[in-house]
Symmetry: none
Subunit: 312 residues, 2 copies
Amino acid sequence: MGLSAKETFAGDTEARRHPPAPGILRAKVRSLAPSMTRSMQRVAETVAADPAACAQLTVTALAHRTGTSEATVVRTARVLGYPGYRDLRLALAALAAQQQAGAAPSVTADIAVTDPLPEVVAKLAQEEQLCLSDTAAQLDTAQLEAAVAALATARRTDVYGIAASALVGQDLTQKLLRIGMLAHCHSDPHLAVTNAVQLRPGDVAIGISHSGSTVDVIEPLRVAFDQGATTVGITSRRDAPIAQYADIVLTTAPGRESELRPAAMSSRTSQLLLVDCLFIGVAQRTYDSAAPALSASYEALTHRHSAAGPRP
Amino acid sequence: MGLSAKETFAGDTEARRHPPAPGILRAKVRSLAPSMTRSMQRVAETVAADPAACAQLTVTALAHRTGTSEATVVRTARVLGYPGYRDLRLALAALAAQQQAGAAPSVTADIAVTDPLPEVVAKLAQEEQLCLSDTAAQLDTAQLEAAVAALATARRTDVYGIAASALVGQDLTQKLLRIGMLAHCHSDPHLAVTNAVQLRPGDVAIGISHSGSTVDVIEPLRVAFDQGATTVGITSRRDAPIAQYADIVLTTAPGRESELRPAAMSSRTSQLLLVDCLFIGVAQRTYDSAAPALSASYEALTHRHSAAGPRP
DNA sequence: CCCACCTTCGAAAATAGCTTTCAGCCATGG
DNA sequence: CCATGGCTGAAAGCTATTTTCGAAGGTGGG
């Protein structure tokens, strides 16, 4: 040495081209340990025992923790097949992440009164995600298609909804108005009925009710139905009372309830997804008039936003 | 400055104590990108687009690849919440490993005018799911906690929101009312200001605006702020004008826009998740009064549902 | 038992990579 | 048109990693 091969290439150059995958680290440690010197074994074992923690450490820190020197740590990394400590460290981080990912059971339990906020956030987000995929999965696209077709050619559209469903109705209405369609949402049952009487064939009436048995929504929809308008029911049960007066029934996913979160509240997500689908469907089919209308309403609102950029 | 704070602490020291988990990176990039400078955006996007590849690069290499300088790369890492590039790189490696493990292919393309309905449904559902996890990921739970605490003890609560955000505000209001809290949502700017003047310390005012620059929402919030009420801003940009008058800022995920689905529309999902989190948080903390109030309002509504079961 | 040689190891020098500073540039507003 | 302030990259400064090198300890042969 100077004589024997410089340590520089101790681990052979091949490592530079094919750095090993992280998963095999444990196996490598076990199979290579016997051929390592004692202090290198200490390093290798420490690393295999707690990759996550070691990924946080610098060479110096790891050397210190294993009671060895930086040089030894680097040598160990080389033996394990990495070009240097830096790369071993990256692999450790990756390994730790993989392990953690595998261990993530995902929070499916109910939201409890004692849950800390971060957990509440996680659970809520996950619940709503589930609700969305459920809704999409069980949706009857033929019915949706029919509803879109009716809306796209409607002379006018009435929407009925109460309480939480009223908000969904208003959301739909706002969107339809933005693409130049004539739409109204009624949550006052009397006014709703009064308006329903005005409808005639070719018009569309949409009743939104999670339970499907809200009289204040059923009633105007029945009137609209009797007037010959095309009626759409948005509810969680295909056999709900509201379905009697609905030419088209779109079903929402029931959504799990819990004490803090009654069904009426969790239905919202599902209903809104339907509303978005309806809206996009209609916008597609009336694109020539919808697109200009959309940008026009966008333009019109620009001056309602303050010009100010970030905090002065 | 010598003028402004030394860049050293640009990312604030908190990053040193709570380095963000890897999973959130995409969400963070999306939510923080708007407030970044152009060259930082280039770095952030490159990194988000291919974490695995970037994990292999040194600062210099990444700077070169993005056509920027080392300094910019480090600055970006800071903004993303890491103490420096080294740590961002570790997180990237971890993220890449996680992704590979999860390997979710998924339809990420924009919704096109020509998409058939079933595809629209799938894309919408997935987009909203992404939006939800982004929102949960980037949410600052400390701020949320503060908002919940303020709401739980508020004498009264005012909510300001316009157009789509008005619906979100009403949703929150409905829920708070159900657990016996005094809450109102104002979408008429004049009435909103009139009401804001009535507020005093101990009251809470919440302004909801996706852009964070809607004057009709900022104005009443400013008044409430001046009155000494605790003010909360719900917006997609932490540095939006509305933040000036918000004691607490809750950020929503930006949500990808497309021609058929402008940002204002896709913001809804994110805002509603926040609202739900607020509500559950408050309900937990006022459980003794909230639970009876919830069931009371449930009871009161029963007779508004028709007794009829399945179609007679 | 002693010597020559080899292996293993860590201190410290050398280097590569990361971070900070700083001065120039460009856009913005007066 | 100038002043101001934010954005940027070049380069200085520093830290972490890598390499060198020689000392300590062990081993086998004389």
